[in-house]
């Protein structure tokens, strides 16, 4: 009997204490839907600049080749599969368009699943290099697996273009077969700083970094570019941290115009949410690691104050590409789909030019100098793009929208 009375007592008291705060909660709910950052209005941009003479996979339709393949090596399954699938669909689209236009040159696309895992990737890439008909590869998507396999590609003399791995050290390993079809993290940091200062008109910025290689490297780059504007407000958080109360008090008492979070969306989302709940009204800026629909899901309505910087271009804004991609994949192009498409185009046009050996294709990529759909593609001796662009995005009505280039 006593337990019944007891549980009733628990409920009553909990209810009473909830009433106490609930009254106050209600009065506040109407004022919280204001739209984030302070007076800055960067409108969504619905078209991206497409180079007029962009090289497309189709070519002139007269190419001849026989029994050649290109490979995709990267995640198709596993926890981070979505990014890999975005890329593989872009690559497949390029190959399909090429083969449809060139009856005399049918290139096979061979797909190898690394699950995004650096330890699995080494065996997979060895297998790729052992198949003699593969002249070039697209991949690998992630920085970790790229680092563990670059040497294997190098030994086999097999050219590969990554459409998404952005760790700056990848081009400092002395590899001559590695090419990157987008800007790296040390390009993104200064670009993000410029965006925050010039476009968001922030005079004081807080930089919060996580404990990953990516977050630490990017924070160093942006801090260098921001200088005095951020030197007085820095914080470091940990992966898997969910309660940010001490970071929030630091930021709300520093009253910055913008917060830059250097890390991934899993921590950025609760941080942004707790910042807005804590009364922060400035802008929240995150890099490509934060730019994900999951961020919006997890931060909820707080995400309306958020901007993203990314070396990736939104392929869904190029209508010819978006329509064809939609037909193939059954969904709109995702992050890095366009970069995958452009990278595959480079290899395909090389094969069209009559190349039949790995060495010749490597040479072709080294000397490549033409526009792709996303950007101008020309590499320096380390495999880094000679000129790279960073793009800006923001959250509008619960969706990520493009707001133009920022560097």
């Amino acid at each position: 009997m006593s337990s019944v009375r007891f549980s009733r007592a628990v409920l009553t008291v909990v209810a009473a204490s909830l009433v106490l705060g609930g009254c106050a909660a209600k009065t506040n709910s109407s004022s919280s839907s204001s739209s984030g950052s302070s007076g800055v209005n960067l409108p969504a941009v619905s078209n991206v600049p497409v180079p007029a003479d962009a090289v497309l996979p189709a070519g002139n339709g007269k190419a001849t080749c026989h029994g050649v393949s290109i490979a995709y090596a990267g995640a198709e399954t596993g926890a981070n599969a979505q990014l890999g699938l975005n890329i593989v669909n872009g690559v497949q689209l390029a190959v399909n368009q090429h083969n449809a236009a060139n009856p005399g040159c049918q290139v096979t696309l061979k797909k190898f699943d690394t699950e995004g895992d650096p330890t699995k990737a080494t065996g997979i890439v060895t297998q790729v290099t052992n198949e003699a008909d593969i002249l070039g590869a697209i991949g690998l998507p992630f920085s970790g697996e790229s680092k563990s396999t670059g040497g294997i590609f190098q030994q086999a003399g097999l050219v590969h273009i990554t459409p998404s791995a952005t760790n700056p050290t990848l081009t400092q390993q002395g590899w001559t077969t590695f090419f990157r079809a987008l800007g790296n993290d040390s390009v993104q940091g200064p670009a993000a700083a410029k965006f925050i200062v010039n476009q968001l008109h922030a005079s004081k910025v807080c930089v919060v970094q996580d404990d990953s290689d990516y977050g630490i490297g990017l924070a160093a780059a942006i801090n260098k570019a921001l200088g005095d504007k951020a030197s007085s407000c820095q914080d470091k958080v940990t992966t898997n941290q969910r309660d940010f109360s001490s970071t929030v008090s630091k930021i709300t008492s520093a009253k910055p115009d913008a917060v830059f979070y250097s890390g991934y969306y899993a921590e950025a989302a609760p941080l942004d949410q707790q910042l807005v709940n804590g009364g922060y009204t400035g802008a929240f800026v995150g890099p490509d690691g934060v730019k994900d629909d999951k961020f919006i899901q997890q931060a909820g309505s707080a995400s309306s104050n958020t901007y993203f910087t990314c070396p990736c271009e939104d392929g869904s804004l190029i209508s010819s590409f978006a329509t064809a991609y939609q037909q193939l994949a059954g969904s709109a192009p995702g992050t890095y789909s366009l970069e995958g498409y452009d990278s595959a185009t480079v290899l395909l046009r090389g094969i069209d030019s009559g190349i039949t050996t790995r060495a010749a294709l490597l040479d072709y990529v080294k000397n490549y100098n033409a526009d792709g759909l996303s950007k101008h593609l020309q590499w320096d001796s380390t495999g880094e793009l000679k000129a790279s662009t960073v793009y800006g995005y923001k959250v509008q009505n619960g969706k990520i929208v493009y707001i133009g280039t920022i560097s």
Binding site: S2, S3, F6, A9, V10, L11, V13, V14, A15, S17, L18, V19, L20, G21, G22, C23, A24, A25, K26, T27, N28, S29, S30, S32, S33, A79, D211, Q234, D235, K236, V237, T238, N240, Q241, R242, D243, F244, S245, S246, T247, S249, K250, S253, A266, A269, P270, Q273, Q274, N277, G278, K294, I296, Q297, Q298, A299, G300, S301, A302, S303
Partner: protein
């Protein structure tokens, strides 16, 4: 100069940010007490089970996260999502109580099941303590990865119940309704559990088994029922903690979200004196405070856990049984 002096004088590796620490002291205090209350509720689950069975129930963090999932599913079902709900106060309280009840039942059920499936068979066979410990760790991983396979690697979408609003100010800092609700409700729950153990017949049974299982059985106490009740109480508290956790961190429900929280709650239980219910409450609040102070003082959350555990080690050096001592079994009847 001595290398150690050089090492300590070189401030690049460690930086005391005393200004921020002073500025944000009260902010950190109230936030620390709020999160500390959540630690304390979870710590009570560890301490209850340890007090009775001398078993560190490492799966308790998964009991908590299971409750958090149940809570989030219930709230999503009721129409809560990432935007601030425009509900009347009464409807909000009703929904919160319902979700809390579901979470408590889910956590309680998981805890009791855990005891039935994992621990009771071992007890029947008279297995050594190490077998229990490794079973607890195994169950913890099993539940974690079952959730991972089911829900994937990323957190559940945010479920926002209400936005914190300043009620009044103290020491130059605003106290929000969120902080007050969590702290007061948690303290009330802790008091109730404490009184339940101290004053009711069931509580007496639990203490009797904690003190001497064999004699308690001879005196007519149903030992198995007392053990089950202990797990149930711990689970119910973890379920309530899940509500407060989601109020504070609306998007914090993820498959491994209980792990760090559980470790810190366990540290809180040890700090207060494992087996001692009031000790767990005190330890939880202290761990919450110290972690927050440490993070601001060193400007780095990466140090927050270090500070919390350094304090734990220092306290244990001087009081090896924790601040209040291990006393569930030795309590006055």
């Amino acid at each position: 100069m001595h290398p150690l002096t050089v090492f300590l004088a070189d401030s690049s590796w460690i930086n005391f940010d005393v200004t921020s620490f002073r500025q944000e002291f009260w902010d950190n205090t109230f936030n620390g007490l709020t999160f500390g209350a959540i630690y304390a509720l979870i710590a009570m689950g560890y301490t209850l089970v340890y007090g009775v069975l001398r078993l560190i129930n490492f799966a308790h963090s998964e009991v908590f996260i299971a409750g958090a999932y149940a809570l989030v599913f219930t709230l999503s079902g009721l129409g809560f999502d990432g935007s601030v709900p425009g509900l009347s106060t009464l409807a909000l309280i009703g929904d919160m109580l319902l979700a809390c009840l579901v979470a408590m039942l889910a956590s309680g059920a998981i805890a009791v099941l855990l005891e039935r499936i994992a621990y009771r068979p071992l007890r029947r066979k008279g297995a050594p303590p190490l077998a229990f410990l490794i079973t607890a760790i195994g169950v913890s991983f099993a539940i974690q990865y079952a959730i991972f396979i089911w829900r994937g690697a990323s957190a559940e979408p945010a479920v926002i119940l209400f936005v914190p609003k300043a009620l009044f100010s103290a020491f130059g800092t605003n106290i929000t309704n969120q902080q007050l609700i969590i702290f007061v409700a948690a303290i009330v729950l802790m008091l109730l559990i404490d009184q339940f153990i101290q004053r009711t017949r069931f509580g007496r049974g639990v203490r009797a088994v904690a003190q001497d299982p064999d004699t308690a059985t001879l005196m007519g106490v149903n030992k198995e029922r007392a053990i089950m009740l202990t797990f149930l109480l711990g689970g119910l508290l973890a379920g309530a903690a899940a509500l407060f956790y989601v109020i504070k961190v609306p998007s914090g429900v993820v498959f491994n979200g209980g792990f760090t929280l559980g470790i810190k709650a366990f540290a809180a239980a040890v700090l207060g004196g494992i087996g001692n219910i009031r000790g767990a409450a005190l330890g939880g609040l202290l761990i919450g405070l110290v972690g927050n102070y440490g993070q601001t003082l060193l400007g780095n959350a990466q140090w927050s856990d270090v500070i919390a555990f350094v304090v734990l080690v220092v306290v244990l050096m001087f009081r090896p049984t924790g601040i209040l001592g291990e006393s569930l079994g030795k309590a006055r009847v």
